[in-house]
């Protein structure tokens, strides 16, 4: 039976996470490669198949809607892990900490003193025109002045082997349940490798999450709820998973009621007070009295209860002002401004279409650039210039001219690759990296992340809605 074989594995043109060059494995992957090479190709396929089955059985599924028929999908988990050395990781974690502190100072500043605007660190118009900016939050100071308690920053590794921040997700970043469950599944897939290596554990994430949520209220015992839009939301599995792992109530908007500006759950024994809500419903939908009037997902009066300090909302409404893709370009300056430090995790060069010079450059060079909508996510509303037709580029030129504030552009970065199972062989596929930060009284970053992988050959789009899958991410302890 043919064994797994890497002698023909192609590494040229990109940074490969496993190989320096063909047949020259990086130290982080030595043990893993040895194990893989002992397996027959059929055995490998069997392991992959067992993984798919495990995901189905756990209910790690999401619904994709087309022509009204919900199709249930799993987020494909590729069994070859993404392995990171502890030196790389420790550097990353420091950079993330720096960034999340500065971003929270920025959000708090914007809704209060607006020092950064007065000192012209970032253009006022740009900030106040952001879709994530909520005037309803002016003057608010959430507990500890923290607005984004749970963040998931998207990082990539470029050709040069360095990590860059691709975007900040400060509102309701999803995927952490996949980080945790992927690990559980891989421990069953490759027990021998785990025995030989010291992979830093991540299983305490939900404990830290609960501790963080509890630390935001003085009530004891704290009553904590996870607010979900319901089972048809694509991240529902995660909402249920986190609530269950934390021992919190999983609630929908209709389970809550606000009376005299306090929030209660409707239970079989009457109303029961809620102190902290980890809400996975977008700002727009949390309260029909204040935001989207048609929202069926929210609870009338919730925002007023929050303003009065009678309930803590996590993440705080309005935090999205700082993950606007145009604001992103200024973050290195903001870090310097608030912390007096140089940025540890660099940004990717970003052209802001709202600024004349930049816009001109973007319009002239659109075929070489990646263009993104400033309030977009999920890989939608973007153009990858080098991979698009003339017609597609022209469409974006028109869109940018029509509403420059809505767009930014970046040079195309060749995301690093990790060997990935394809139908009959193993090939490099592009990946990004999303670690999760918890920020309450202190910052906690568990040593792991969601690695998203673009399963289609040559594709750079890793989003699950666009043919992306995931990988377990191992941080190796070398001690």
């Amino acid at each position: 039976m043919a064994k797994v074989d890497f002698t023909k594995y192609e590494t040229t043109g990109f940074y490969d996470e496993m190989f320096k060059a063909t047949n020259s494995v990086r130290p982080t992957y030595e043990q893993f490669k040895k194990r893989l090479e002992k397996l027959s190709k059929n055995k490998l396929k069997f392991l992959q198949h067992a993984t798919d089955r495990a995901q189905l059985s756990l209910g790690m599924t999401f619904n994709v809607y087309s022509d009204n028929q919900g199709v249930e999908r799993i987020l494909h988990l590729d069994i070859i892990p993404r392995i990171i050395s502890d030196t790389d990781w420790d550097r990353l974690a420091k950079g993330l900490e720096q960034r999340i502190v500065a971003l929270n100072l920025f959000i708090n500043d914007i809704y209060n003193e607006q020092r950064a605007l007065k000192d012209n660190i970032i253009p006022k118009d740009l900030v106040l025109s952001s879709a994530g900016y909520l005037k309803e939050c002016i003057g608010l100071r959430p507990p500890e002045n923290v607005w984004s308690h749970i963040s998931g920053t998207d990082l990539i590794r470029g050709d040069d082997g360095n990590f860059y921040v691709l975007e900040d997700n400060l509102r309701c970043p999803s995927g952490v349940s996949y980080m945790l469950e992927n690990r559980e599944i891989l421990k069953r897939t490759f027990p021998e490798v785990f025995e030989r290596l010291h992979v830093r554990p991540i299983h305490d994430y939900t404990h830290h999450l609960r501790d963080m949520l509890e630390s935001l209220t003085n009530e004891s015992p704290a009553s904590i709820a996870v607010l979900t839009p319901g089972i048809y939301n694509s991240a529902y599995f995660e909402h249920a998973y986190l609530a269950q792992q934390m021992g919190a109530e999983l609630v929908e908007g209709r389970d809550l009621v606000v009376k005299n500006n306090f929030v209660y759950m409707i239970t079989t024994k009457g109303l029961q007070r809620v102190n902290v809500i980890y809400r996975r419903v977008d700002d727009d939908f949390i309260d029909p009295l204040v935001f989207n009037k048609d929202s069926m997902l929210g609870t009338p009066g919730l925002f007023e209860a929050y303003r009065k300090g009678n309930v803590v909302l996590v993440n705080a409404p309005g935090a999205g002002v700082a993950d606007d893709k145009a604001v992103y370009a200024y973050i290195p300056r903001l870090i310097k401004y608030y912390l007096g430090e140089e940025v540890l995790l660099p940004n990717i060069k970003t052209y802001i279409c709202a600024e004349k010079e930049d816009c001109k450059y973007v319009l002239e060079n659109i075929h070489t650039l990646v263009v993104k909508q400033t309030d977009g996510s999920g890989g939608y509303g973007m153009l990858i210039g080098p991979k698009s037709t003339k017609k597609e580029c022209d469409e974006f030129v028109a869109k940018i001219k029509n509403n420059p504030r809505n767009y930014i552009a970046q040079p195309m970065i060749n995301l690093s690759r990790v060997p990935t199972l394809t139908d009959d062989t193993i090939e490099g596929r592009h990946v990004d990296l999303r670690p999760y930060c918890l920020y309450g009284k202190e910052i906690k970053i568990v040593p792991g992340a969601l690695t998203r992988v673009a399963l289609t050959k040559g594709s750079l789009v890793v989003n699950s809605s666009q043919g992306g899958g995931s990988k377990d991410t191992w941080v190796l302890d070398s001690n």
């Binding site: 189905l56 756990l58 089972i231 529902y236 249920a240 269950q244 609630v251 409707i266 079989t268």
Partner: protein, 321 residues
């Protein structure tokens, strides 16, 4: 516990119980049809009547035939009571209260779902003998009852689930009685004939009561069968036994030790007491059909009062304010 969650727990268990009952009915009826005169309508129509799905069947199909009935009750996504629909609903319910149940319970419901869905995709109703499918559904549901019992704390959620299961079970037993017994009484000239005995045995088997009945009474008689299925205090599918345990669960939830704390407790307690203090001969005096019909209506009343006492959500809360 959240009212919505309690309601979902209640319905999830009702759906599973319903699916298990349907699976058993199909299996028994299939066996019965093998030894009965070959008249499809006579063999299969009672089954659709028992489940209460006849009005819908009538609007959909002109004739009664084996494969159609098996499809309609087993697989039809458009029939909200088909096994497929019940299991799909139960799974959606389980998903929406995932933190309230255990991983084991979830995985079992999920596995039943994939099995039934696979059956639908493979068009198993076209098979000449789909009994294996129904047997497995029944066994898988029974396995789920066991997993539920050994992995979930006896908290309010468990008790609401139990009440849902028992209300559904009592309802199904009463419906089997009603329809099957009707058929039996309409053919008095055949009492004692081999065909007759077979029908009686099938009635008992439809509610898994054959073995326990034989142990208690031995001989098959109309009076004794009725007594066993309506008034027996120890047989788990008898109507009274279901009510006794449903009441116990309700008392666990409310903490009341006598009397009643709300409308649901009042109605359930009353219905149970009436069954406790009636003879089977009284039942026959009222008329069995009339008696069962009233029972079913009052059981619906219990279900409604449970909703009003515990499950009512925001709309109701606001009205009360």
């Amino acid at each position: 516990m959240l009212s919505r969650v309690a309601n979902t727990m209640y319905w999830m268990n009702r759906y599973i119980e319903r699916a298990e009952n349907y699976a058993r009915f199909m299996d028994v009826n299939f066996n019965l049809s093998l030894e009965s005169p070959p008249d499809a309508e006579e063999q299969w129509k009672p089954l659709v009547t028992i489940t209460g799905d006849w009005p819908m069947y009538e609007t959909r199909y002109k004739t009664v035939d084996k494969h159609r009935v098996i499809y309609f009750l087993g697989f039809d996504p458009k029939n909200p009571n088909s096994i497929y629909s019940c299991i799909t609903n139960a799974r959606e319910n389980a998903r929406s209260i995932r933190p309230e149940i255990t991983k084991e319970v979830w995985e079992q419901i999920n596995s039943i779902y994939f099995f039934v869905k696979d059956g639908l995709e493979k068009k198993l109703w076209k098979n000449n003998d789909p009994r294996l499918f129904f047997k497995k559904v029944r066994e898988d549901c029974q396995l789920l009852y066991g997993i539920f019992d050994v992995t979930i704390s006896r908290n309010d959620g468990w008790h609401f689930g139990k009440i849902g299961q028992l209300v559904e079970r009592a309802d199904k037993t009463s419906r089997v009685m009603d329809v099957k017994y009707h058929v039996l009484l309409s053919t008095p000239q055949e009492v004692g004939s081999p065909l007759d005995l077979m029908q009686w045995a099938a009635l008992l088997k439809s509610v898994s009561a054959y073995d326990m009945y034989r142990k208690k009474y031995g001989k098959l008689t109309a009076l004794n069968i009725s007594e066993f299925l309506i008034l027996d205090k120890k047989f788990p599918r008898s109507m009274l036994c279901c009510l006794i345990h449903a009441e116990k669960s309700l008392q666990e939830i409310t903490g009341s030790t006598g009397g009643f704390a709300n409308e649901a407790e009042k109605q359930l307690g009353k219905l149970k007491s009436e069954l406790e203090f009636i003879d089977i001969s009284d039942v026959f005096e009222t008329g069995l059909h009339e008696y069962l019909d009233e029972f079913q209506q009052r059981l619906n009343g219990v279900s409604e009062s449970l909703y009003n006492s515990f499950f009512a959500t925001q709309a109701q809360v606001q009205i009360q304010q």
